[in-house]
Amino acid sequence: MSSFFSYLIAGISLGGIYALIALGYTMVYGIAKMLNFAHGDVIMIGGYVAFTAISTMQQPVWIAVPCAIIACILLGVVIEKVAYKPLRSATPLAVLITAIGVSYLLQNVALLIFGSQARNFTSVVPDDFSVSLGSINISGETVVTILASVAIMVALTLFVNHTKSGKAMQAVSEDRGAAQLMGINVNRTISLTFAIGSALAGVASVLLCSTYPQISPYTGAMPGIKAFTAAVFGGIGSIPGAMIGGVVLGVIENLSKAYISSELSDAIVFAVLIIVLLVKPTGLLGKKINEKV
């Protein structure tokens, strides 16, 4: 039984990381109505920035982590301005292909700079953070990940519901045209959304690379896709949906890794996505919107 609980807690921690990434997807999707394929690769770049700061430049953690977050924010905003903004009125297919191009570009830039070999990432969490509950040992990374994701989710919920910028984000995602008429600066709101999403990606990158202490140019791709799955699971565009979806997916993945098959756990996670789309295409908390002509 205790092994079940330790798998469960590790799953919740992984789910917290997925939730942070999924929030980035879901917020951008809600506002810009686009699937930001490059989000996973922003995480990878954040991880490499933290890696360079810690291992190559021997900087302490309290410098490395903010560096990674700031790099992610800058990258996210620049990508939005250069690649996505000119395509606001283009077809969804064109935007999606551009996003895939950006994702591919980031992977290949990282490949040229850092090489294809996976590097060992030094965890940012000190060893003495680990906790023992009876017979269950919880690693420091797990503790920090769970605490950090909970804190960020609470802060984000407060921000979106109780500040002017947060309400502007809601308004733009509801109806961009009407929001503009109400005097909301749509471009700035979209940039802000990308910045927040990328900041969460920055946090997620450090937590992810500390939990699985390796980094390669493909580190971001898989968690990115899974986090998107989580966002769809919870209902794309819904912030609480992304949080629930992320945690549920993380638990499913870890339990199937432990009890079914470690090689097939990815396949199981994606099978969940397909089943969800079959049964409830709008996800757990998604709203069905009728299209107007």
């Binding site: 686009m34 699937l35 292909i97 551009t98 950006v102 591919y104 994606f270 099978a271």
Partner: protein, 359 residues
């Protein structure tokens, strides 16, 4: 005397067929009578495989306007099914002229069935779901096929996903034959893929797809791409139209996989990764996403050119250049600012022409 005329789409189609015939003839003559290098011969079948996969993907991306990232997954299914069939029946059906078409058909059909199953949940939805589900599908296929074991002995067939149950199974060692060996894949596939067979298959695929595009169903697909609501209002069954295109694309991707696997000694599922799907997508996008012929030409140029330039140490930058080309293409074709510049230039040149005409 009545002049023999062709309608524009028909003319267009005959140009494509003619082009295929000329390519097939010239290259075949060159490899038979000319001194074609080994590396040139080695490029032929893969190029054909990519052409087939790309024109099949164009049916989904270009004609039906949905993004599929699972082309590699369908190729993987086709490759595994075709290879397994060929290896198992190599003694039963000795003539490769009979066995190989059966393998092609079987690989394509199984891929098409999977395409249908994937299409059911996804094509009812709109937006980016197809992209993400096909991507997920590709990953599932890759990881499942990486763990498949298939063997026979005198007690019959043994099949498992995951190595544990194979390790626990008691085989009759004398008659045990392993066909699919997990991550080691399939080895010993007869090398039936020749350039000419590939060209014939491409020709058939082109014929089927071009006729489909010009048919009632094909027009329905394009109508739902251009305006889903208007098409629905006109009585087009959008889901069915898109499904037809998607299943057909999956079929030909499966066939491409069979061609691919019959050109290799060892087939491994890890070949059919996300990068392969993206690479095929790049061919389609840079081919303009509308005409099958342009996609074919783009594939030839984009696949053969970097291979030919391998000696110049460009291969490291190949993927980078693909990525930049993809973004640049989308921005140039769709960005509002660049559209304005183009219209401005067009207006300017048109006026100059008029002025010239008046003088």
């Amino acid at each position: 005397m009545k002049k023999f005329t062709l309608s524009k789409p028909a003319k267009d189609r005959y140009i494509t067929y003619g082009m295929l015939a000329v390519i097939a003839l010239v290259v075949q003559l060159y490899i038979t009578y000319g001194d074609a290098s080994r590396s040139f011969k080695g490029l032929l079948v893969p190029t054909c495989v990519y052409i087939l996969a790309a024109i099949a993907l164009n049916l989904v991306v270009g004609i039906s306007g949905e993004l599929s990232l699972g082309q590699a997954g369908f190729m993987c299914i086709g490759a595994y099914v075709g290879s397994t069939f060929s290896v198992m029946t190599e003694e039963l059906i000795a003539s490769s002229a009979l066995r190989f078409p059966l393998a092609l058909l079987l690989g394509g059909m199984v891929a098409a069935v999977f395409g249908f199953l994937i299409g059911i949940p996804v094509l009812r939805l709109r937006g980016d779901y197809l992209a993400i589900v096909t991507l997920a599908f590709g990953e599932i296929i890759k990881s499942v096929f990486n763990n498949i074991y298939l063997s026979t002995d005198k007690n019959g067939l043994f099949f498992s996903i995951g190595v544990e149950s194979k390790a626990n199974h008691e085989f009759d060692a004398a008659t045990q034959v392993d066909y699919i060996k997990g991550a080691m894949g399939i080895s010993g596939t007869p090398r039936d893929s020749t350039f000419l067979i590939c060209m014939v298959v491409i020709f058939i695929a082109m014929f089927v797809m071009l006729n489909f595009i010009d048919s009632k169903q094909g027009r329905a697909v394009m109508a739902s791409r251009d305006n889903r609501i208007a098409a629905e209002a006109m009585g087009v069954n959008v889901t069915r139209a898109k499904m037809t295109a998607f299943v057909m694309s999956a079929f030909f991707a499966g066939v491409a996989g069979v061609l691919y696997s019959h050109n290799l000694n060892t087939l491994q599922a890890s070949t059919f990764n996300y990068n392969l799907s993206i690479q095929i997508l790049v061919f389609v996008v840079l081919g303009g996403m509308t005409k099958m012929r342009s996609v074919m030409i783009a594939t030839i140029i984009l696949y053969v050119l970097p291979e030919a330039l391998r000696g110049f140490n460009l291969s490291n930058y190949r993927m980078l250049i693909y990525a930049i080309a993809l973004i640049a293409m989308m921005l140039i074709n769709n960005s509002a600012a660049i559209k304005r510049v183009r219209e401005f230039l067009r207006a300017k040149f048109a006026r100059n022409k008029n002025v010239g005409g008046e003088v």
